[in-house]
Every structure is written in C-alpha cells, then in structure tokens.
Subunit: 336 residues, 2 copies
C-alpha cells in the first residue's frame, strides 16, 4: 500500500513537471507599461523581440549547450535591439552618455562576473561573462572594465553606437521635467517619490535565467541604467545578489527601481528563502516583490528553479516577459 | 510547574544577556596576521588603535546617539590611522593610486549608502553616509561620487594625502611578485590560489557594527581595497549584502577575499539564516565563514544582533578585532 502511494506520488509529480517544465525565462524591463500607451505595432515589435530572444536561448539548450550559453544568447538579442534599455538601446545619463552595466552568474559553482559604468563595450553581457571566466575578480568598473574587455578581444565600439533618437528624446524630457521639478518642488526627497515624473524613465533592464539538460542554472542581467542618472550611480543589475543571482537550486534576474532591489538583496533573498525555509520558488519570488513594495520600491523579477518551476512577479503596471518550456512552447506577456 | 520553568528560563536568559550584552564590535581586517611576524610595538599600536575606535563609538552610544553615529565615529578613527587599509592607510592600486570604497547601512529602515573607487574623499565612510541620507541613490562611483561628496561639503584632499611609505613598499613588493609569477607560472588561474604570493596584500578593511539605546542596529565598512588591484575592481566592502548589511535584527561587516564574499552574499546570508531558519547570530556567522571557506575563499566578519549577542568568526591566521559591552568592558584580539 505504501509503495503504491509512493508510486502514485512519483507519477503525479512527473506528470505535473512534464506539463510545465520551463527551461528559460526572460524579461525586458518593468515599469509604467500600459496598453493604452502602446500602439499595436509597438506591442508586436516587443512580442517579436522577446520571442527571438527566447528562441536564441532555446536553440543553445536544444544543442546541449549550457544554461550560461543560453542566457548569453538571449540577452545578446535584447542588447542588440534598440527597443530595450540595454546595449544598443541604452538610455542616456544626465551628461548625455550611455553607461552600461551587466552581470552573470553560473549556478553550479556560484561563479559570477559583472561590469558597471562602461561606455564602449558593444555587448556588456559578454564582458560580464569574460570577467567571470577570465579574471580573478567579480566586478570591474569604468575604464578598467573596458581595458579588460578589450584585452580579451571583445568588440569595442565608439560611444556613438549607443545613440538612438528615442532615448535622446527621453533624456530631453527628463531634463525638462527636472527643471520643472526644481521650480515646483523644494523638497528634494519628494522628487524620487512622484511616479508621474520619474517612473517612466527609472526602469528598463533585460535579463534571462535558464536551466540546461545537465540541470544547471544560470542568470544574467544587462541594463543601460536610469535616464538622466548622475554621479556614477550604480543600480542593482550588476550587483550580485541584488539584481542577479544563481546557485544549484534557483536562478533570478530582477528589473525595477534598483536602489530598493539593492537594499532588499532581492535576487539572493529568493534563494535564501528556498534554502533556509524550503519556500517554493513562486512563493519566495512573490514575497520579495511584496517586500520591495512595502519598502516603497517597485519592479519585478524572473526566477527559475532546478525542476523547471518558474515565477515572473512584478508590482508595476507591466513587465515585458516571456518563458519557454522544455518542449518549446512560448509564452509572452506585457501587461498585468 | 510549567510557569516556574518559564520563569527560570526568563531569569537565566536575562542573566546571560546582562553579563554579555555587547553594544559595538569592530574589525581592522583579516589575513595572514601571525604573532611571529609582529613586533611587540606593532602589536600594541594595533591594540591601542582598536581601543580608541571602540571608545569613540562607545562615547556616542553613551551620549544617547544612534548606532549609525557610533559606527561612523569608530570607522573615522580607523580611517585616519595609517595602520589600517582604509582612508589614510589605503593600499595602492596597480597604477599607484589609492582608490577607496565604503558602505553604511541603517537597520531600522534598511537605508544604505556606498561609494566606490574614490581618490579624493578624506573619509569615505562619511561619503557613504551622505549618499544614504542625502541622495536618492545607494551606490555612487568614481568622479561622480567625488562630485557628490564635494557638493555636500565633505572634506576633499589631494590624492597624495593617502600616500604612506609602508603601502608604497607593499605595492613594490606586489609588483615584483607579479613579475616573478609571470616568469614562474604560465597558468593564469593559479595566480589567485597561491596564498604565499597573494594573501598578504589581498586583505585589509575596517568595519563596525553597533546597537544603540533605542535597540537600533547599524553597520559600516571602509577599505582601500587590494594592493596592486587592476581594472577598476570593486570588492565586497561597498556591496550592500556582501560586505555590509544591517536590518532590525542584526548588523554585519566583513573583511577578506572580496570576490568570495560577493559570490556568497556573505553579510546578508547571516541575516537570512536568522530570519528564515531562526539560527542564532553566532551560528549563522560561523556557517557563512565556513561556506566561504568551502568555496575556496577566506576572511572574517563581525556580527551583532538586537539583543547584544555578537560573533567575530574568521578562517584566516588572524583578524584585528574588538568588542565593547554595555558597561564599557573592552575585549581586543588579533590572532586565532
């Protein structure tokens, strides 16, 4: 009787997993993404780009490559697409520059690499991976990170490569709003808590998590940061544990108001709940987004565990996101 | 009978806490610190400096100031003392510069501030606090962080302020060892795992954690980084969750081989164990140092919980460390 029960349990479990085993989840940023502000053309462009990214990663996994290869492949597609605030589509800083950050983490060994504040590396995710695999460091910044990437043969571009008209106009709007805020609002602290003025240019990041045939997880995140950012600000994306984390059991990539994700150690907090209180991935990820919300922040995350269970919680109006199952079924969503 | 037992338990607990309630713990770096390499004069200089730092923090706490004020006061003493690799005594980068990092976190709100890669801010811990209290960001780097600190009226010094003969000689030794390594060792990966060549110039950080009369915790860390570091490398000290963390229940500051502390999310991992599996602070801190060790890294940390329990585990030969109790009793230790 006992054996029958165990057998039934095993069958049930394997049936559940065979139906819903995801192998890759991606995001293209969270924020004030509302259906009413989007044309049908824009929406299908995003859907197509997310699909391409998922397919690029899936192709790697199907070929028996590692989840790290899949994460890199998916993020490369999004970095090269000006729709996303990463790589080619990076937003402008206050000084009119494009400063890019990226991070990657390989679950089995918890090796990690990150770069921050670079202006000439075409694909920051490749540089983050090179830091992980070809340096003794985890995090390199600025000119040093660029010199390192160049020494490893990565493609270096003129900073003008990252100029796009849309992002330039976004900076102009942000600068105009800033001068407006200076006139209207004498309380500096309030500036950051007025969603109408800040939310539309605070977010935007791309990320991917994947599970390969060996059962290994990897996570990666890449971003152009925050429109109009100042003072060499670093957000959560390149901070291991905040915006990006992977171990043997779970891989996470975040997007949102970076300061809150840093203070909440958002990505690792999912893994910690799974390890120390055996919380399922979906519940752990949701709890972290709720915690970020209770601190006053917003954004979202993607998480994938070693059995193919995934979660994509967010507390913003929308998050560009998608997932692909072991059998190649694609799910894409944008709004709540 | 049951009530008697509970009463006894309460009494026992309160007696234990009244004997050993610590209000501040500090460290001045971990590494290959061996008694046989230290003169009696050097040893007493370190003991005196640690005592001064503890007293500076304790004075704040006794005056009813916050744990954040106490942490800042203790770290300022160590930053201004050339004995420690932070502030005045910062080590040199590969290019012969002093690049400083610092972070601070305030438990009750989990507000945090950090700066990285600055060369002209006399007291990095003050700049980290200014980022936390006077900017909407958590982490600022390089020239941007310096411009911010200057705009907030912090003391800016010529980079030559940080030049000390001892640290300059350490760089010369490291550069010599590097050229030796290049001749002896053709496997790049092995460079980082030869303790004899690297350990003596990899470490050195100062940190403090404190508990104030309101029961509020704070943590801070400041460092000159790694002798001979390249490529704008950022270690764990300014990474919230890695080298520095504080919440309502515990405050942590780490020192050691930064890359491993980043990958292990070392500081937050103590808090996570306490929150999710109710592990006592000493056990949680020890588990993290053991985890870092099993990954191949070394170093130490200080941790203090909201009931005055503290831990100072490390897996190196020594760690400069000290603690002070509520009643002002000071404990200082250096070796194992």
């Amino acid at each position: 009787m006992k054996y029958l029960y165990v057998l039934l349990l095993m069958l049930t479990n394997s049936m559940v997993f065979s139906q819903t085993r995801y192998v890759m989840v991606i995001h293209g940023g969270a924020g004030t993404i509302l259906k009413e502000n989007m044309t049908p053309d824009q929406e299908s462009a995003f859907r197509e780009a997310l699909t391409q990214a998922l397919q690029a990663g899936y192709t790697q996994l199907q070929a028996g490559k590692s989840s790290l290869d899949a994460v890199e492949a998916a993020i490369l597609v999004m970095e090269d697409n000006p729709l996303f605030n990463a790589g080619k589509g990076a937003v402008f800083t206050h000084e009119g520059k494009n400063e890019l950050d990226a991070a990657v983490m390989w679950g089995p060994t918890r090796a990690a690499g990150a770069i921050a504040g670079v202006t000439t590396i075409r694909n920051p995710i490749k540089a983050a991976r090179a830091v992980m695999e070809q340096s003794e460091h985890v995090m390199l910044t600025g000119k040093g990170a660029e010199a390192f990437a160049s020494s490893k043969g990565l493609e270096i571009v003129d900073p003008s490569y990252f100029w796009t008209e849309n992002r330039w106009k976004a900076l102009e709007r942000a600068l105009k709003q800033d001068s407006l805020k200076t006139q209207l609002d004498h309380d500096g602290n309030k500036q950051s808590t007025n969603p109408a003025l800040t939310n539309d240019y605070k977010y935007g990041t791309v990320g991917a998590v994947a599970l390969d045939r060996d059962g290994h997880l990897a996570a990666g995140t890449s971003t152009g940061g925050m429109t109009n950012k100042q003072y060499g600000r670093i957000g959560d994306a390149p901070i291991i544990g905040a915006g990006t984390y992977a171990n043997e059991r779970v891989a996470i990539s975040c997007t949102g108001w970076g300061e809150f994700f840093i203070r909440g150690i958002a990505a690792y907090d999912v893994a910690a709940q799974m390890e120390y209180s055996n919380t399922p991935v979906a519940q752990a990820a949701l709890a972290v987004i709720e915690k970020i919300g209770s601190m006053g922040g917003d954004g979202g995350m993607i998480a994938l565990d070693d059995r193919g269970n995934m979660a994509m919680p967010f507390n913003t109006a929308g998050m560009y996101r998608g997932a692909i199952t072991e059998s190649g079924e694609i799910e894409i969503a944008i709004y709540k």
